[in-house]
Each structure stands twice: as structure tokens, then as C-alpha cells.
């Protein structure tokens, strides 16, 4: 395997890298706001944001103001939150389960969240008390518990959890399809299928108010447990021997992962490969130490997702591709590369 290009042997390097990441993310979000069917100059974007945030009174057309603020900025911020949360989830799961292939999508957590969301949306589970996101969260937790139980029952181990995840994904995807085909009308079915592929269409500010805090809380929790995650490098017993309360750490971090995945899936559908590929890219840049890997994963995930959203809107003229299609188009080859590199030396 290639030696990671570990940046940051000097104390200021991580800070410089973080600053750079924020600049790139800011630039990418500005691009996402400017690019679209109606092209808006970056300057207009800046003015529109400033009008809303700082109460300035730049002269702008109401259409431009509306597009920037109500449609594109909320969408870009949601893409950033989802990218950060999914990449973090992947990084956490890979460390906790000591498996380079672990991530919410592969482990069936996303599929469970989809089933939960669809059950609430179509079957009306919870009689209006359960929101879509709560349904997705319950689905995510059920899927994770089921997959973990299956993996443990099959003797545990790195390979088993992936196999169990595959089985879990299939089961929950089948349940989702069953609910959709038997209970949804044609229009609902089309909408849901599009949403399941991962779609940012129709995202508005209330969605951002859910997604952004979840991403930030997930990030804070994972940073607090970054050192505990490092201690899992040599397995659960090794972590416990280093004084880590392994059960508590596992429950909290798996809960955070389920929460982040569920929130994002309930808003944008299940987006694959971000959680898998981004942590590997981040590891290549900053090394395996979680204190650096987690922030790097979150930032790269956010930047990647905003970029993927831009691509999804411009790659086919007059048409918006589901963002899940774009991430998978980039993610699947990267997944293949990881599989190839993770193979044991013959």
C-alpha cells in the first residue's frame, strides 16, 4: 500500500489546512449558488447574502434575491451538511468496526432509514406524530441493530459485518420497494424513486435547520471521542485496556452515526459512496489519527457534495440528475480501487 502523504508535521499545518478547507468550501458554495439555469454573477450572490445576513440594501432584482437565498443557498448548505455528516459517519464506522469498507450505505443503515421514511410517508405510520426524520431514525437504528445481531450471530469479524450489511440493505430495499409498489399511487412512486436515488430538489431552509445542527452536533460528538476511536486501532479489548469505556463509546458513536444518517436520508434520500470514499481520501491526506481524520473527512465530504450537486445540475443540459447518481459515478470506481488495495498480499 502507498505511504500516506501525511501533511501537518508542523503545529500550524493543521490550522492552515483547516483555513484552506473553509476557503475552498466557501468558494464552492458561492459557485453552487451562481451556477444554474439562470447564471448569477458571484458579486450578485455576495450582495444577496449580505442583504439577508447583514441587513445591507444593495439594489437587486427580487428574482435574483429569491433564487440566491430561497433556492440555491439553502440547497448548497444542505449539500455541505449532508456531505460532512455522511463522510463523518463513514470515518466513525470504519474506525469503530475496524473495517475499511464500513459506511452507512454498505451497512444497510441508509436502506433502513429509507424504509422508515417511506413507512411514515406512505403508510402513515405513527399517525402523524412521527415525522419523516424520526421514522428514518427509527429505521436506521432498527437496521443497524439487525445487521449487528446478524454479524455477531455469524461469528463477528470484519468480513461478517459487511456480509450482514449487504443482507440488511437488500432486505430493507425490498421492504421499501414493497411498500412503494403496493401502497403508493403512480405519482408518489415516481417521486419516491427519485428521492431514493438521492435528490436535493425541493430543499428549503427548514431542511437546513434540521441538517446543519445534526451535522455540527455529530461533528462535536465525534471530536470529543476522537482519542477513544484511536484506541480502537487494535480492537475492542485493546481499547478497554487503555481505559476506554468501550460500550458507552460504541453506543454514543453508533447513535450519532444513526442520527446523522437518518437526518440526511430523510431529507435527501440515500446517497451512497460518500461515507465510504471520502474518509479514505482524507486518510490519504492527513493520516489515520482521528483528531485530524474526522475534521478532514467532514470538510472534504462537504466540499465534495457541493461539487457533486453542481455537476448534477450542469452535466445534462435542461435536466437535473439525482445527486446519488453523480456520487455513485465517482464513488463506484473509487470503491473498486479501495477493494483492490485492501486485498491481502498473496
Amino acid at each position: 500500500m502507498a505511504q500516506p502523504v501525511v501533511i501537518g508535521q508542523r503545529w500550524w499545518a493543521p490550522l492552515a489546512l483547516a483555513a484552506l478547507a473553509f476557503v475552498v468550501l466557501g468558494f464552492m458554495i458561492s459557485l453552487a449558488v451562481s451556477i444554474g439555469e439562470i447564471s448569477i454573477p458571484l458579486e450578485t450572490t455576495a450582495k444577496a447574502v449580505s442583504n439577508r445576513l447583514f441587513g445591507t440594501t444593495f439594489e437587486l432584482s427580487r428574482i435574483h434575491q429569491g433564487i440566491v437565498w430561497d433556492y440555491r443557498l439553502s440547497r448548497a448548505l444542505l449539500a455541505a451538511s449532508a456531505g460532512a455528516a455522511l463522510a463523518l459517519s463513514g470515518a466513525i464506522l470504519q474506525a469503530l468496526l475496524r473495517n475499511p469498507l464500513a459506511e452507512p450505505y454498505v451497512l444497510g443503515i441508509s436502506a433502513g432509514a429509507s424504509t422508515g421514511a417511506v413507512a411514515v410517508m406512505i403508510l402513515g405510520f405513527g399517525y402523524g406524530v412521527l415525522t419523516l426524520s424520526t421514522g428514518a431514525f427509527i429505521g436506521a437504528v432498527v437496521a443497524f441493530v439487525l445487521v449487528s445481531a446478524l454479524a455477531a450471530g455469524a461469528g463477528g469479524g470484519a468480513d461478517r459485518i459487511i456480509l450482514a450489511g449487504v443482507a440488511g440493505s437488500q432486505l430493507f430495499n425490498a421492504l421499501t420497494s414493497y411498500i412503494v409498489t403496493t401502497s403508493a399511487n403512480a405519482e408518489q412512486a415516481r417521486g419516491i424513486m427519485f428521492w431514493l436515488l438521492g435528490s436535493l430538489s425541493g430543499v428549503r431552509w427548514p431542511d437546513v435547520y434540521l441538517a446543519a445542527p445534526v451535522a455540527v452536533i455529530g461533528f462535536a460528538v465525534s471530536i470529543f471521542y476522537a482519542r477513544a476511536l484511536d484506541a480502537f486501532t487494535f480492537g475492542v479489548d485493546a481499547a478497554a485496556a487503555l481505559g476506554i469505556a468501550v460500550n458507552r463509546v460504541r453506543i454514543i458513536l453508533l447513535g450519532a452515526t444513526a442520527l446523522m444518517t437518518a437526518a440526511m436520508v430523510s431529507i435527501v434520500g440515500s446517497i451512497g459512496f460518500v461515507g465510504l470514499v471520502i474518509p479514505h481520501a482524507a486518510r490519504f491526506l492527513v493520516g489515520p489519527s482521528k483528531g485530524r481524520l474526522l475534521p478532514a473527512s467532514a470538510m472534504i465530504g462537504a466540499i465534495f457534495m457541493v461539487a457533486a450537486d453542481i455537476v448534477s445540475r450542469i452535466i445534462v443540459p435542461q435536466q437535473i440528475l439525482p445527486i446519488g447518481v453523480v456520487t455513485a459515478l465517482f464513488g463506484a470506481p473509487a470503491f473498486a480501487l479501495i477493494l483492490y488495495k485492501a486485498r491481502r498480499p498473496v
Partner: protein, 254 residues
């Protein structure tokens, strides 16, 4: 600090793995834990650092019952070197040794000068300071074992538990590691398979068989031809080595 194990029982899957073991290790001494595969050596080591909970009995460090200690407090005093623990992560030697500081650091506290000192001392003890930046998966089995021991030393323990630390090592590294460990000013318990190395390096030996202690004491008292026949099922000649004065075991094939 002394380690005192008093009538300890532990079972797994309905099988009594540790069946009423009592052992005392005096401060600064080295106890060799001998016994056939499955005799309960690894389980006992895990019980001492409370990776598993006792079914009954008491284990004390000094005068403190480990059942009353916080997990973190145990980790600050007791370091465990597991058998063949490995990782697929792209970690360096330094990353691994730094893990030893985990119990001494808060979740957000910065890396301190005393952390640095402990890590550097540990690397020097195992003779690997200039290998700090080497990647884990490029190390040989013996080097990995030394890095694990350095990680344990970076924990600055007063009690050190090692589960077959010399497995898969060449003879030079076996001798190096055991002389390193036995010279450290800590109380240590080492699970071993090699009776001769145990006799050479350990102050006392305890022989486990089916989860019980069948003999305990100095190597001279414990290692007898009858005991080896009973416990290990092989016949042996035992004599005092004219070179190092310790017991020396030679096996008979007839």
C-alpha cells in the same frame, strides 16, 4: 505494587475457564504463567485488568479491589500486551506507542511534555527510537511485539501483563524482550510456553491446568519431571544449568 488474586472464578459459554485461582505477586517481581493451551492463562490476564468481569473471587492491586476501580484508573496502572494484536490501519510506530498515553490524557487536552517523555523513553527501552516513523504493516512480527511493549511502557504502568510476548520471535528477540521486561521496575505477569525461558527469567512460576493452579513457587520448586509429565503430557529430564544456575528442561522422545 503487588498483585493479589484470590479464589477467582470465570466462565464463558457454560465452561469454567478459570476455576478458583489464587496467586500473589510481590511488588517488582516477575511471575511466569505456564500451562498447556486452553489452561486459562490468557483469560486470567484479561481478568486482572478487568477486560472481563469475575464470576466470583477478588483481585487486588496493592490494597485496592479492581472491582471498585474506574476503568481509567486501572489503565493508568496496568498495561496489557495482547497476543498478536494487529491492525489494517496505516499507523506508524509512533502512532501506536502514543496510544499508550490515552489513559493519561483527557478527551481534548493537548499533547504534553510528559507524554513526549514517556513515549521517547518507551521507544528507547525497546531500541526503536529511530524507527518511529515506520509504518506498522512493514514491521516484522518481532518488531511489532516490541512496539506493543513500547506502547505498554508508555502507559507508565506499575503492573505489566504480557500474553506470550515471545511467540513468533527469533531467539535473540525472545531473550531481548524477556530481559527487558524482567529488568523493569514493575510487577509483571508473563504467560509463556517455553519452560526454559520461564525458568531463566521469572522470579516465580505458576502452572495452570484446566483453570486451576497445580503448582506455584520458585522455578526450582515448581519445575519437576513429574509435574511436566502430569500437566504437559511429556517426559523430561530436569537439571540445574551449569551456565546460568537455573533449572533446565530437556525433553525425552521415547
Amino acid at each position: 505494587m503487588s498483585i493479589s488474586i484470590n479464589d477467582v472464578h470465570w466462565s464463558a459459554g457454560g465452561l469454567m475457564i478459570v476455576n478458583g485461582i489464587s496467586i500473589d505477586v510481590a511488588p517488582g517481581k516477575t511471575l511466569g504463567l505456564l500451562g498447556p493451551n486452553g489452561s486459562g492463562k490468557s483469560s486470567l490476564l484479561r481478568l486482572i485488568c478487568r477486560l472481563r468481569n469475575l464470576k466470583s473471587g477478588v483481585i487486588t492491586l496493592g490494597s485496592t479491589d479492581i472491582a471498585a476501580m474506574a476503568r481509567l484508573d486501572i489503565a493508568r496502572r496496568v498495561a496489557l500486551v495482547e497476543q498478536q494484536a494487529t491492525t489494517e490501519a496505516q499507523v506508524t510506530v509512533l502512532d501506536v506507542v502514543r496510544l499508550g498515553r490515552t489513559p493519561h490524557r483527557g478527551p481534548l487536552s493537548p499533547w504534553s511534555a510528559s507524554d513526549d517523555r514517556a513515549v521517547n523513553d518507551a521507544l528507547r527501552h525497546v531500541g526503536m527510537p529511530e524507527r518511529a516513523d515506520q509504518l506498522w504493516h512493514t514491521l516484522s512480527g518481532g518488531e511489532r511485539q516490541r512496539v506493543h511493549i513500547a506502547r505498554a511502557l508508555a502507559q507508565t504502568p506499575s503492573e505489566l501483563l504480557l500474553d506470550e510476548p515471545t511467540n513468533h520471535l527469533d531467539i535473540q528477540h525472545q531473550l531481548d524482550i524477556l530481559s527487558l521486561v524482567t529488568k523493569l521496575p514493575v510487577t509483571s505477569i508473563i504467560a509463556l510456553h517455553d519452560l526454559n525461558l520461564a525458568a531463566m527469567f521469572c522470579d516465580n512460576l505458576a502452572i495452570l491446568h484446566h483453570g486451576k493452579v497445580v503448582a506455584a513457587g520458585t522455578p526450582e520448586d515448581v519445575l519437576t519431571e513429574d509435574l511436566i509429565a502430569d500437566v504437559f503430557g511429556v517426559r523430561a529430564y530436569i537439571e540445574r544449568s551449569v551456565h546460568h544456575g537455573r533449572q533446565h528442561v530437556q525433553y525425552r522422545l521415547d
